[in-house]
Amino acid sequence: MAKCRIRNNIRKLRFEHDEITQKQLAEQVGVTRQTIVAIENAKYSPSLELAFLIANAFDRPLQEVFSFEADS
């Protein structure tokens, strides 16, 4: 399996947004809680659409939520 190189600040942003739970965020963006867990732990790279939905849920631009870990 290719290493996931998309990093994210979802956990931090959840706490900054009234400590919303993974389940609440999942319901808001229309995925399962397990998918949010997988994204948060950098096990799964979301599609561009889902990434935008998550960024919109936090009312932040995409690059503040997700970042790409380039090869050094």
Binding site: M1, G30, T32, Q34, T35, N41, K43, Y44
Partner: protein, 149 residues
């Protein structure tokens, strides 16, 4: 363990049980010497048809029972939502399943080409490959769910 993981474990267990009964039944026929002559293909065909119908029926019953138990225990209805990660997991497991079946199918065609087995035995090998593919698919799905993706 999520509902999806429980569902895969239940499907895996029911498939293994059904196939074990089928294997015992076919082995019994073989021991009794019924798998010889022109009736052998007919017997294998009938038993395979029963196997497929039984597999579908058992899978439906197991999933319904699992859903009822899950709702009773957790007090929440299981999600019918299938998101992008789950679709990718389903696709990957289907790929594993198809690849496994392909190996069995190729082996069966090879055996048929060099005529070392009776055609009904080759058909049994194809049925076994289908089940092995199914089991490999379930295992791949379970691993991907446990890992996150």
């Amino acid at each position: 363990m999520s509902y999806q993981e429980k569902s895969v474990v239940a499907s895996l267990a029911s498939a293994l049980i059904v196939f074990a009964f089928y294997a015992l039944y076919v082995f019994g026929m073989h021991q009794e010497g019924r798998l010889v002559g022109p009736e052998a293909s007919s017997l294998v065909g009938k038993s395979s048809f029963v196997l497929m119908v039984t597999t579908i029926a058992v899978t439906v019953v197991v999933q319904v029972v699992l859903s009822v138990i899950h709702t009773a225990v957790t007090r929440e209805t299981e999600t019918i939502l299938t998101d992008e990660r789950e679709q990718l997991i389903a696709l990957k497991s289907m790929q594993v399943s198809s690849t496994t079946f392909s190996f069995g199918f190729l082996a069966a065609m090879g055996i048929l080409a060099i005529e070392i087995w009776e055609p009904h035995m080759v058909f049994l090998l194809i049925i076994t490959s289908m089940f092995m593919g199914m089991i490999a698919g379930y295992i791949a799905k379970l691993i991907l769910y446990r890992r996150g993706y």
